[in-house]
Amino acid sequence: MYPRPIPESQPLKRRLYMAVLGLALLIWLLPLVAVTMTSFRSTQDIMSGNYWGWPVAPTLVGNYLQVFAQTPMARFFLNSLLITIPSVLLVLVLSTLNGFVLARYRFRGATLLFAMFVGGNFLPHQILMIPVRDLMVKAGLYDTFYALILFHVAFQTGFATLFMRNFIASLPGELFDAARAEGVSPPRVLWYIVVPLLRPALAALAVLTFTFIWNDYFWAVVLTQSDSVKPVTAGLANLKGEWISAWNVVAAATMIAAIPPVTMFFLMQRHFIAGLTAGAVKG
């Protein structure tokens, strides 16, 4: 291991290490800690300018209730779920199909197709903005969930296909040879052999694409207009302008927007990290 592990025989050094690292962590997360604390501050605290000290009259749910009662944040939150969940499911289906073919069949143009999926994933969104917006307007999908779902599915399929192809390519080839020898049809191979083995890959992709799509702001402002469709990121940006001096309320709204991806991350941490670093370490 590098750096050399701190040996068990030096408990003092270990404790010192943990203390220093803990302090660094606290500074690292200071903005987040401050927002969390402020989401529990009462208006009284805010009025007296107590933004950073210990909350004098903390309110556990007051600001959150106010967010739900006086802003459309609950609606935005629901919109985000209605956009993100179907998108993730569709990405999983499409990328499994693509990945299976690209990993298990050799044909002319396969490399080109693969390069297209990978390269497209790195495109700056602005080069897509005008045509995609135009397409959605013409199709009558502008300012509906379908516009965002369709775009996110298309875009995320690029990255997801790369990931799935590499995962399926790493499965033992004998499985497929045996299936072919038995004359099992490709859909059955996919469903009965590949999909059961894909569970870790599906989990990793699900949590990653969920985070990417939930956190999108650009397409939310490009493809939606009304509060009944807008996801939580665009809603939060609006709220910040409208509730300019009520930072406790904005902080609570920020927390609400951040909670789903953060929860997903902690629940499925291993998968999240495995997915993100798949290209970094060769297995």
């Binding site: 401050a34 499409l94 390269g119 005008i130 490709p186």
Partner: protein
């Protein structure tokens, strides 16, 4: 039925690929090309397009905002190159296996899963010159708090600093994964030979992390060039366009000024810049595939 039987060997994979390829090709790939086409026109987004050739690009060369955006993109890229370095530093500091380390590491990752829009909201408040934490810290030191987001010279640096927060976390994840995969035998051989500390890092550890180094630099540069969300939330390109990047200027020209042709021209320039890095990435990826 006979037809199906004769051709099913290739019909199945073709059928499987069909939905994904159609969606990706029509919405992503075709759109990118269409933007190049739109950039050669004058268009308000609704009426007919009229061909103007390279006029949008010529206008760009005389547009002072274009140079400001370009300069800001350069600042973004250069500052984002700190992300791999800082990410590696934190990864080295945190690469221990004591009890509780898993939690510590995952807490370090948290900024990465926050929406850039949320990070922007948090930092606007952090930077506020009257009540932000930065102002409080300046007051403690007896200095006048700078109005970072309304100062034309400082605003881009302030926005990039906010954007670095999640990016450093991203690089840290990559490096921790890389450090976990280091060849122990090479490492202990080097240690037996007396390599220590800095020299061990530079000559033995870093060369083994070349794949991670490459990935961290590539995603940071591409991320810097694509930056939009956090600028839109923190400054809307202001004051007076001084914090706009190409991505933001493109959005503003199209959505607010209805100059879709001009916007597409800006996007094309941005695309040309990113394409170099995409090509570099693909080249390495496909080369590794063959090996």
């Amino acid at each position: 039925m006979n037809l199906w039987r004769r051709h099913r060997a290739w019909l199945y994979p073709a059928l499987f690929l069909f939905p994904g390829v159609v969606v990706f090709a029509t919405i992503i790939v075709a759109s990118a090309f269409e933007s190049l086409w739109v950039s050669l026109h004058s268009w308000d987004g609704m009426g007919p397009m009229s061909w103007v050739g390279l006029a949008n690009f010529r206008e760009l060369l005389d547009d002072p905002q274009f140079y400001t955006s370009l300069k800001n993109n350069l600042i973004w890229v250069l500052m984002f190159l700190l992300a791999p370095a800082l990410g590696l530093a934190i990864a080295l500091a945190a690469n221990q296996t004591l009890r509780g380390m898993r939690l510590v590491k995952s807490l370090f990752f948290v900024p990465l899963v926050l929406a850039p829009a949320a990070v922007g909201v948090i930092f606007v408040w952090f930077y506020d010159p009257s009540f932000g934490l930065l102002a409080k810290l300046c007051a403690l030191a007896g200095a006048t708090p700078p109005a970072l987001l309304s100062d034309e010279r400082l605003v881009t640096f302030a926005v990039v600093a906010a954007a670095l927060w999640p990016q450093v976390a991203f690089c840290m994840i990559l490096f921790l994964a890389g450090l976990g995969n280091i060849d122990e035998s090479v490492l202990s051989a080097a240690r037996v030979d007396g390599a220590r500390g800095w020299r061990l890092l530079v000559h033995i550890v870093l060369p083994q992390l070349s794949q991670v180094n490459f990935l961290a630099v590539a995603v940071s540069v591409i991320g810097a060039l694509r930056s939009f969300d956090i600028i839109a939330v923190m400054t809307q390109g202001g004051p007076f366009g001084s914090s706009a990047t190409l991505a933001y200027q493109m959005y503003e020209q199209s959505i607010f000024s209805y100059r879709f042709g001009y916007g597409a021209a800006i996007a094309t320039v941005l695309f040309a810049g990113v394409a170099v890095f995409i090509a570099w990435y693909l080249h390495r990826l496909l080369r590794d595939e063959k090996a």
